[in-house]
Symmetry: none
Subunit: 402 residues, 2 copies
């Protein structure tokens, strides 16, 4: 496999240009019936259409054909990190999603409260789906656990879901789940897959021993299971790879976490798209690259609400003039994956992508939509190459070879 | 990584068919303004348009999305050698560019005359950009240098640029540059990066010691620095890979050198496109494959002269009837990269490509241009696969697997 990051580091240069990557989460969609229009095609998007006319369109494949990615691999691809090479464990993603600042010595774990009976067998893997308030209280109790040689952090996520972090030297991240994925059986003991994770497994088992004692009277949440035990992946920073000072403007913690994973500066994004635009304007001189994340094209798609996704797409369109007024050298509008309302889920369909720069080859597109993108001048490409196109159009690459 | 060369060797067969690869250097372009036409689209190209109607179009990516290649990697890709796998050092390319016949025991070096002061510090890295006549005289003096155990060749390139070749057994090509890339400091000593290049470094330092003495009264060119020290890459010959007897018809030394790098026969190309066509006709029965190189679509692009590039493209078009009259089984017209006049440089934009053969699937193209190619039946593909398409359309591949 070609090490594209090494190539990028060899070729990149500094020229003061600015790149904006605007991600409409789950932007791609599907028509509700054959011959119909997608959400993006249905939406009135005069500003995106104008950009399409001076830019170039294409379809990006987040991972590989047929593969629907989660938010982690979806964004890693957009940031130019091969999502099949750089994998993010479930525990790490869960910690990023609650804005927990993970460090290199941390092992992150996704916990699930569960119900066990007198014999210690699991009767409910989700503890009767307890409310978030109860979950939070129990996490506060568990956060008092002390284990010699490590710091222990326990944080609530939502309902029966929590995050546990062990912080200490010499902790490997390669430990089996303790969730047996079944009821009527006992939770598993934590088992290390490698020698250098043995200490982590021992700590996890000590944590579970103390937790069982602490939670014994808290049925239905009288125990917990551990999943996705992992450390931060060894991942080069965005600045190391591209030489770009990058600012992330994302409202949701998960996306701030993904930006932090590649060491972008995470800026205060406020609560609305308008807040985000104000932050972009205020920080314009401080960064070379801006990642702006808009969640609601995805969440409305997940809800199966076609009309709401259309409306959120129109909202996304409305912010374009504030971006173009700043005169970025390159502006890219795309998604981390498709979330068709028809499917109520992330999908594998390639993602409509628009790149506008003075060096664009005109492709006769008059509007931004899936059909236009399928015929666009960027063709069909893997999302992991998008940043290379951005760097090229920003004039930030030297020629390869003589 | 799939070894496509091994696959090609397994599947190839001989059938007496003929392939012509016509390369318009830097063929791809850009419109000067959004909505405009590129150089190729502006040019009147009735012969290429007729070929497009009976052939198939596509866009080829020379290296990877966003990467603008030099002539070396651009041509290696067209010849079916992965330009990220086979890398050509600066010294090697410079030697190829002056028609120096490099052999497997040769280490080639790009030299720059420079000016040093009484303390030995560099005051001008390009020796005041001395004229080519002065550079040539100084090279004649340096060519007298004798070093036991190796042959030394010193040849002028242009102005302050020269090529040095050490020929001998056991010379590695992995030595650091001696150009410190700065003034006010002394030139560096040649340092081997590997044990098997230590002898080369010693010879380079002895060469520099003698050169300093010879040039001491020749200010501003009173010393030189060494860059891009390298040997020929270990590269299978075109005949070994494809079983094709290949003849190269290129006017410019660099492209003759690139053809020689993969062991094509380099034919006398004369000075004009008409001379090249005459050579093609004369040599038609002697080869299975012809590489014809036309430089001026690139040089006019580099000059930023849109109109001149249009005119040169029309000149390229005018040679097509003499090629088709020979009834090649496959004719390909493409470029090694794009050189938009708007950018005055090589660019990363994918390259318009036309392949005509009796086995083409019709793609409704009526003219040869970037927009038509973006919608063409060959799709967007990596240049390194072009030769496999050529072999297939020439009927020179057996089926893979049963």
């Amino acid at each position: 496999m070609t090490d594209t990051h090494a190539l990028i580091r060899d070729l990149r240069k500094e020229n003061g240009s600015k790149i904006v990557l605007l991600v409409g989460d789950g932007l791609g969609g599907l028509p509700l019936a054959p011959g119909g229009k997608t959400e993006l095609e249905t939406a009135k998007t005069p500003n995106l259409d104008a950009l399409a006319q001076r830019g170039t369109l294409g379809l990006s494949t987040p991972v590989l054909p047929g593969i629907a990615p989660g938010s982690g691999p979806g964004h890693l691809g957009l940031f130019g990190y091969d999502p099949l090479q750089f994998r993010i464990g479930r525990g790490v993603l869960e910690a990023l999603g609650i804005d927990f600042a993970l460090g290199p010595n941390d092992v992150a774990i996704r916990g699930n409260f569960c119900t066990i009976d007198a014999a210690g067998l699991i009767t409910d893997r989700r503890a009767g789906r307890i409310g978030s308030d109860i979950g939070a209280k129990l996490c506060t109790k568990l956060d008092t656990i002390k284990i010699p040689g490590v710091e222990v952090f326990v944080r609530p996520v939502k309902e029966y879901r929590l995050v546990i972090v062990f912080r200490g030297e010499g902790l490997g991240g390669n430990v089996e789940d303790t969730d047996p994925q079944a009821t009527g059986v006992a939770p598993l003991t934590a088992v290390a897959r490698t020698d250098c994770s043995k200490k982590t497994a021992e700590i996890a088992n000590e944590f579970l021993r103390q937790a069982r004692e602490i939670l014994k009277n808290d049925a239905p949440a009288n125990f917990l299971t551990l999943r996705g035990i992992d450390k931060l992946p060894g991942i080069p920073t965005f600045q190391e790879v591209y030489g770009l000072r990058a600012g992330a403007i994302a409202v949701y913690p998960m996306y701030r976490g993904l930006a932090r994973l590649v060491s972008m500066d995470v800026l205060d994004a406020g609560q609305t798209l308008s807040d985000q635009m104000a932050r972009l304007e205020a920080a314009w001189n401080d960064y070379d690259f801006f990642f702006i994340h808009f969640k609601y094209t995805d969440s409305t798609g997940e809800d199966g609400n076609f009309a709401a996704k259309v409306q959120r797409t129109e909202e996304l369109d409305s912010c374009i003039p504030r971006i173009t007024a700043l005169k970025p050298d390159v502006i890219i509008v795309t998604g981390d994956h498709s979330t068709p309302a028809k499917m109520k889920s992330h999908s594998w369909h390639p993602v409509p992508t628009l790149l506008a720069a003075d060096t664009c080859r005109f492709d006769s597109s008059t509007e931004f939509g899936e059909s236009a993108c399928a015929r666009g001048g960027l063709g069909h490409f893997e999302a992991k190459y998008l940043m290379m196109l951005a760097m090229a159009h920003a004039g930030r690459f030297d020629k390869y070879g003589a």
